[in-house]
Amino acid sequence: MDFKYFNDPERLLKLVSLFLEDGVGATCSIFALTLMLSLPLGLVVALGRMSKMPLSRWPVSFYIYFMRSTPLMLQVMCIYFLLPQILPFKMDRYWAVIFAFAINYAAYFAEIFRGGIQAVPIGQREAGRVLGYTRAQVFMRIVLPQTVKHVMPAVTNEVVTLVKDTALASTVAITEIMLTARRQVNANYTVEPYLMAMIIYLVLNGVASQLCKLAERKLNYY
C-alpha cells in the first residue's frame, strides 16, 4: 500500500491540524450541545411518560416510539428540509442538527431514566412522604440522586454512541470530522484521511468513556 500521509510526519501533522481546525470542533460542539439539551429534556419526557394522565402519557409514548423507530439520519434530513418550511424564521443548518439530535437522544434517555426512576424502591418514597417532604422534594432529594447512580452505565453507552452519531451531521453538510475526511479522501485519492478520522473518533471516545467512568466512580460512594 502506498501511503501519502502516514509515512511523512510533516504531512501527517498537517492532516491532523486540518481535522483540528475543520471538524473536531464541530463534532465536539454537536456532542456537547446534544448532551446538554437531551439529558434534561429526557428527564422531562420520562416524567411525562410516567404521568398518571393519559393525555400526557400517550403522546409522549408515541414520541418516544417515533424517535426510536426511525433512523436518526432520516430525522436529521426531515428536520433540515421540512422545518424551515414550517417555521417563520430561518433555521441555521447547525441548529437543525442540534435540534434533531437533542429530541432523538431525549427519547433514548427518557427510557433509561424511566427505568432508573422505577428501580428506586417504593419504600424510599414512602419514607420521604412520612418525613414530610413535598412530592417535588421526594423526587429531587431522594429519587433523582438514586436514579443517577442507577442509569450511569446506560448513559455511558449512549454517550459513546453519540460521539459516533455526530458523523450523521455530514449528511446536511456540516463540516465535522466525517465530512472533512471525505473531502480529503476525494481530493487526494487516498483513504488515509478516513483512517485518521477513525483514530480521532477512538481518541474522543476514549476520553468520553474515561470521563463517564470517573463519574461512575464518584457515584460509588454508597
Binding site: 419504600g123 424510599q124 414512602e126 412522604r129 418525613l131 414530610g132 417532604y133 438514586q146
Partner: protein, 246 residues
Amino acid sequence: MLRAEGIQKNFGAEGVLKGISLQVNKGEVVALIGPSGSGKSTLLRCLNQLERVNGGAIYLDDLCMCSTENGRVQYAPEATLRQIALRMGMVFQSFNLFPHMSVLKNLIDAPVHVQRVPKGKAIERARALLDKVGLADKADQYPHQLSGGQAQRVAIARALCLQPEILCFDEPTSALDPELTQEVLAVMRGLAAERMTMVVVTHEMGFARDVSHRVVFMEDGDVVEEGPPSAVFASQNPRTRQFVGK
C-alpha cells in the same frame, strides 16, 4: 390525642379494614397485634397518610385529617395534611434509610429542608439522638455499612429528629435476627420510659406484654379485643387465646 373512627379501607372489592376505631392517648404505648393479613400495616399506613381511607374519620387532637359524610370521604386541605404528617413519625420494617446520604444527613435532611430548622441546630439535635440510640460513632457512615439493628436504630433516630408527637412502628424488628431485635427493642423501651406516644405493630409478644399500656388484637380487618396487656394476654376469647398463646 390520635383518634380513628370507623376506618374502612378496600383494595379493589376486598375490604381490608372494616370500620376500625382506635384511640391513642398522649404518652401511651399501643401494641397492635394480629395474624398476618389482618390489616395492621394498612391501618398504620392510613394513619400516616400512605393510604387513603374509603370511610371513617381520623383526628389528631383538634385537627381533622379526614372525615366521612353521607358515604363521601373528605380529606383536609394539603396544608393541614402536612401539618398532621409532621406531627407523626413512622418506622418501617425495611428501615428505608436513604442510601445516598450519610447517617447524619439521613437525620438532618428533613428537619433542614422540610421544617426549616437551621442546619447547626439540626446537627446538634441529630448527634444527641444518635448518641441516644447508641450510634454516635456512625454519623459519617453510609446506611450500607450498618447492620440491620443499627440501620433500624438510625431510622428511629431519623423519625425522632423531626420531633413528632406520635411514632408509629410497623414490625420494626421483623427483618432482624434475635440479637439485633433486642438492641432495637431496647431503644423502644427507652422511648416508652420517656413517655413517647407510640403505636407499634409487632409480633414480639414480650414487648407487647411488658412495654405497652394497651394491646389491640386485630383479625380480618376488625378489632377483636383490646385492653391492658394483662387482660388481653389472659383473655377468655378463643381467638385471642389461640393467637397470644402460641
